[in-house]
């Protein structure tokens, strides 16, 4: 509710950044031209985790649900991450925990972008009543405590992969719609849209052929960062036992299991925590870098 006003204030003032040799503006301009190695490293990690998640049923790993050996072993050649308090192989459990996080993360944001993105695109292009309805409802939705709402939905429907995905997807619609709307509004006022309109191009064609290709890059970079948020949200629900339930390992429920024995076996919470941390960090990095690369206005999130 206050964010648009803030933009006006900032853009109304003389907040022009003049590039000087030693200021960070110059650095950003230089960095924009290439994605840089951090981006590729981050994408590589995300790709690796996706691959591990897809292949986890066929990889030659120990059974994640069956105790293999002595509980609480330190990392070794046979058990790379050690074993948990029941003697289960932690490396295998972390790999088998990846699918839930990734499925919920990508599917919910995919759904959210499909619905929220479409709404934002239409609202940003047609403006008027539709715009007021979409922005109004999004702003009100944002006032609700997001994760508490997700919790309510999941508790009343019952915890399952599908319900968690839908709950997070619903919560992601409003912020995604607002951001897509914002960049659509900017592009709608550009000359090429006015030209297309004057040539008698249909609205549908303008949206699909002129606006969509321009909005997609920023939506993708925002999407990556949102996937990170969704993975953390799933982890939180999982931590509370409101996502996929044990014995199926998820990073969230593994951290919850590790919390009980954090004094004796800190590794049980540490490994899934590290996996989630690095994945979220990589998604944030990749999304942030893409956003700079495509030169989207800062502060969109």
């Amino acid at each position: 509710m206050s964010a648009p006003e803030l933009d006006v204030v900032q853009f109304g003032g003389p907040a022009v950044v003049i590039a000087q040799p030693d200021d960070p503006g110059a650095e950003v301009v230089a960095a924009k031209k290439r994605l840089g190695w951090v981006f590729w490293l981050s994408s590589g990690w995300v790709g690796l985790v996706v691959l591990a998640a897809i292949l986890s049923p066929v990889l030659p790993l120990q059974d994640p649900d069956l105790p293999q050996t002595m509980p609480g072993l330190a990392p070794s050649g046979a058990h790379w991450f050690g074993t948990d308090d029941l003697g289960r192989d932690l490396f295998s459990r972390v790999v088998h925990g990846a699918p839930v996080s990734l499925i919920v993360g990508f599917a919910s944001i995919g759904l959210g972008l499909a619905v929220g993105g479409t709404l934002g695109l239409l609202a940003g292009y047609f403006r008027g009543f539709l715009d007021q309805v979409v922005t109004g409802f999004s702003n009100i939705l944002l006032a609700f405590p997001a994760l508490v709402l997700g919790l309510a939905i999941v508790t009343f429907w019952g915890p399952s992969l599908l319900h968690v995905t839908i709950a997070i997807a619903v919560l992601s619609i409003a912020p995604l719609a607002l951001v897509v709307r914002g960049s659509t509004v900017i592009y709608s006022e550009r000359e090429f849209v006015a030209a297309a309109r004057m040539l008698g191009t249909s609205n549908r064609r303008i949206i699909v052929r002129e606006l969509l290709p321009n909005v997609v890059p920023s939506a993708v970079s925002l999407g990556l960062i949102s996937v990170a948020v969704a993975i953390v949200a799933e982890g939180g629900l999982s931590f509370l036992g409101l996502s996929v339930r044990p014995p199926t390992p998820t990073w969230g429920n593994m951290i919850a299991e590790g919390q009980a024995v954090i004094g004796q076996h800190p590794l049980i919470a540490l490994w899934p925590g590290l996996a989630m941390f690095v994945t979220v960090l990589a998604l944030n990095f990749a999304g942030d870098r893409l956003r700079q690369y495509f030169d989207v206005k800062e502060g969109g999130l």
Binding site: P14, I262, G273, V280
Partner: protein
């Protein structure tokens, strides 16, 4: 100034109205009959009929909404079906605890991020700037429940410096109160300070490139004086907005931290009520949290003119 505040306040009324409708609909349109959810396996036809009448579920939904809203406006949010305590008194106990947690966490986050952000902006690209920016980016990726669990492991279980869970009242045990809220506040602050640092840094850099800063430098004012007296205040806009948004969002969003550390705040109350299907209490909590968020945003809007006289002119 007063007229502006009044106009903004009047705009709040439709927003709060829609929020209340949405809260009510959300929990009433969820699939499943709450009567069966509450009674569970022990449901008998008589019990079902009794509870249905007690919750007024046999009446049309708009009637129930009107009754609920009317009672809520009088501070009566219905009572918990579990122990028949009024929701309002449950909230009255829980809300101050959450607010205390929020204040501590904001103080910790600001105490770290403001000096670091200002110093980083003074020499962009220097080692303080690069170091703090990288650490901040890392902290952004650390989920609160993970940070909480690790802090408990280190500071409570391993070093016994702070209690792992539990809450002491400020009035009965001030020292214990601070100690019991320290780890949860730090957990919340970790996520916040990364955001604050990045915001303040970029706004400060923009401010420091304005003409009046050059004038101040040319006049020979001390760099530290320019930094804090001339540059800091106009660079606080985004920071104040985001602090407001965070305080609003964390009224309900701190529940994971409250659960990990066993803090009886409004987040824990909501969560336990959800588990128990105590849906009148859930409704009351969600309404309070959402209205709280709206009110905090309203207050933040009022703070702008105090920060920057230019806004005062533009708006009125």
């Amino acid at each position: 100034m007063a007229g502006l505040a009044l106009r903004k306040f009047l705009l709040l009324i439709p927003v709060v109205f829609i929020v209340s409708v949405a809260t009510f609909l959300l929990l009433n349109l969820l699939p499943g009959n709450p009567v069966y959810l509450i009674l569970g396996p022990g449901a008998t036809p008589k019990g079902v009929a009794q509870l249905t009448a007690q919750l007024h579920l046999n009446r049309p939904i708009y009637d129930r909404y009107a009754d609920w809203l009317w009672a809520a406006l009088h501070g009566n949010f219905g009572e918990s079906y579990l122990n028949h305590v009024a929701s309002s008194s449950l909230i009255k106990q829980a809300l101050p605890v959450t607010l205390e947690l929020l204040i501590y966490s904001q103080v910790i986050a600001l105490a770290v991020s403001v000096p670091l952000g200002v110093y980083a902006a003074r020499r962009p690209g220097g080692w303080v700037d690069q170091g703090s920016s990288s650490v901040a980016f890392g902290l952004l990726a650390a989920p609160a429940f993970l940070v909480g669990v690790l802090l408990v492991g280190l500071f409570a279980v391993h070093w016994h410096l702070f209690p792992a869970t539990g809450y002491r009242h400020l009035s009965s045990d001030p020292g214990g109160n601070l100690r019991s809220l320290f780890l949860p506040s730090v957990t919340l602050a970790v996520g916040l300070l990364a955001v604050y640092l990045r915001l303040l840094r970029s706004d400060m850099i923009a401010t420091l490139q304005q003409d009046y800063i050059t004038v101040a430098r040319a006049k020979g004012l001390r760099p530290r004086y320019i930094l804090w007296r001339h540059a800091f205040r106009p660079s606080m806009f985004s920071l104040v907005t985001v602090i407001g948004l965070n305080v609003g969002a964390l009224i309900g969003g701190a529940f994971l931290v409250e659960v990990i550390f066993g803090i009886p705040g409004i987040g824990s109350l909501t969560l336990h009520s959800i588990y128990q299907r105590d849906y009148l209490v859930v409704q009351a909590c969600v309404l309070i949290i959402a209205v709280g968020y709206v009110l905090v945003n309203f207050t933040v809007d009022l703070i702008y003119p105090l920060l920057d006289p230019r806004v005062r002119r533009v708006r009125s």
